[in-house]
């Protein structure tokens, strides 16, 4: 009896070690990347803004464009190599009928227009955020980022990094289809 208790007491550090190991190993095995942060805006409406159209400086948009149907908001720039890699996939999604709004982030208008002409334009609306004003309000910390916005204009998810077949089918498609 006494011996049994002794063994149990001695096992305590081992058990603590196992709990610690599981705690540290789960994120590693799940492959979660600590550089990918959850958005602080999930469950909130897209912040108010006024931005120009990328093609036409006289045309202006505000947050009302995000209401009425579910859509993606893709943040991109010509200085961002991953955005280049992602662009083909955006074209593919647009062809499937997804409503994608583009936000050109801290970029040069001419370069951006040339990019869209050369690589095709998957965006229904293209916003031009030269100063990064909307980017700041959305908590954008790198490009590309893609926000999932439901028909009420509420942000449901943010994906950091490029969109591709794997991540879309493994994870994002389900999130998109769950949105109203």
């Amino acid at each position: 009896m006494l011996n049994k208790r002794r063994v149990l007491t001695l096992l305590v550090p081992f058990i603590i070690f196992i709990i610690g190991a599981i705690f540290l190993a789960t994120p590693l095995l799940k492959g979660s990347d600590p550089s990918k942060l959850d958005s602080a805006l999930i469950g909130q409406a897209v912040p108010e803004f006024t931005l120009q159209d990328i093609y036409d400086a006289d045309k202006q948009y505000d947050a009302s464009i995000f209401k009425g149907q579910k859509m993606l908001l893709n943040v991109w720039a010509t200085w961002c190599p991953t955005c280049y890699a992602e662009h083909t996939y955006l074209n593919k999604l647009a062809k499937q009928g997804l409503y994608i709004v583009g936000m050109n982030y801290k970029d040069d208008r001419k370069k951006a227009i040339r990019w869209l002409k050369d690589l095709n334009d998957p965006y229904k609306i293209s916003l031009f955020d030269k100063s990064g004003m909307l980017g700041m309000d959305l908590g954008v910390y790198g490009a590309p980022e893609t926000f999932f916005i439901d028909s009420n204009g509420i942000i449901q998810y943010r994906h950091v990094g490029d969109l591709n077949d794997k991540v879309w089918n493994d994870k994002l498609l389900a999130i998109y289809e769950d949105m109203q």
């Binding site: 959850d38 910390y141 790198g142």
Partner: protein, 164 residues
């Protein structure tokens, strides 16, 4: 000999040129901000040390050269100049970038362990220690009558031996 002289004269110039050229990169992170009063300047410097750059994750926005850190410094400057308090600026950043942006995390259900963990550890250690201490005297008095007598005999014997 003349050529060598020339090189000798050129060398300081060359060094100076190098210093000017390369000093540029190290100065990139130091922007010049002007403040109306010392309090605002102090608040600004405290904030840039407290706010963490989301892009370059292990640096605060004062240290980082990243484009985003520059934007955050500018925004912080703008807000401080508008007369916003330290808490207001931190709230502004947390609303956009989440608690990740703070180097001084708030107490939430997810972080409570950071405060309680060490405390629980110390309490647990103390409890174990107290239990051990309580156990010890009980062990010393574990002798029955016969053993007790024998012990007294041995002690007497020992006392005699040392006297003689």
């Amino acid at each position: 000999m003349i050529q060598l002289n020339k090189v000798n004269k050129l060398l300081p110039l060359l060094l100076a040129a190098c210093m000017i050229l390369f000093s540029h990169t190290s100065q990139a992170a130091i922007d010049t901000f002007e403040f109306e009063n010392a309090q605002q300047e102090k608040t600004f410097h405290e904030l840039t040390k407290l706010l963490r750059c989301p892009k370059c994750q292990n640096q605060n926005i004062a240290d980082s050269n990243a484009e985003l850190a520059k934007d955050l410094r500018n925004k912080t400057y703008e807000l401080v100049k508008q007369g916003q308090s330290k808490d207001q600026v931190v709230d502004y950043m947390v609303a956009r970038f989440g608690n990740f942006v703070r180097y001084d995390p708030p107490v939430t259900p997810a972080t409570i362990f950071l405060w309680l963990g060490p405390l629980l550890f110390i309490i647990f250690g103390l409890l174990v220690l107290i239990r051990q201490i309580k156990k010890q005297p009980a062990k010393a008095n574990n002798l029955d009558d016969q053993e007790q007598q024998k012990l007294q005999q041995l002690l007497k014997q020992h006392a005699k031996d040392t006297k003689s």
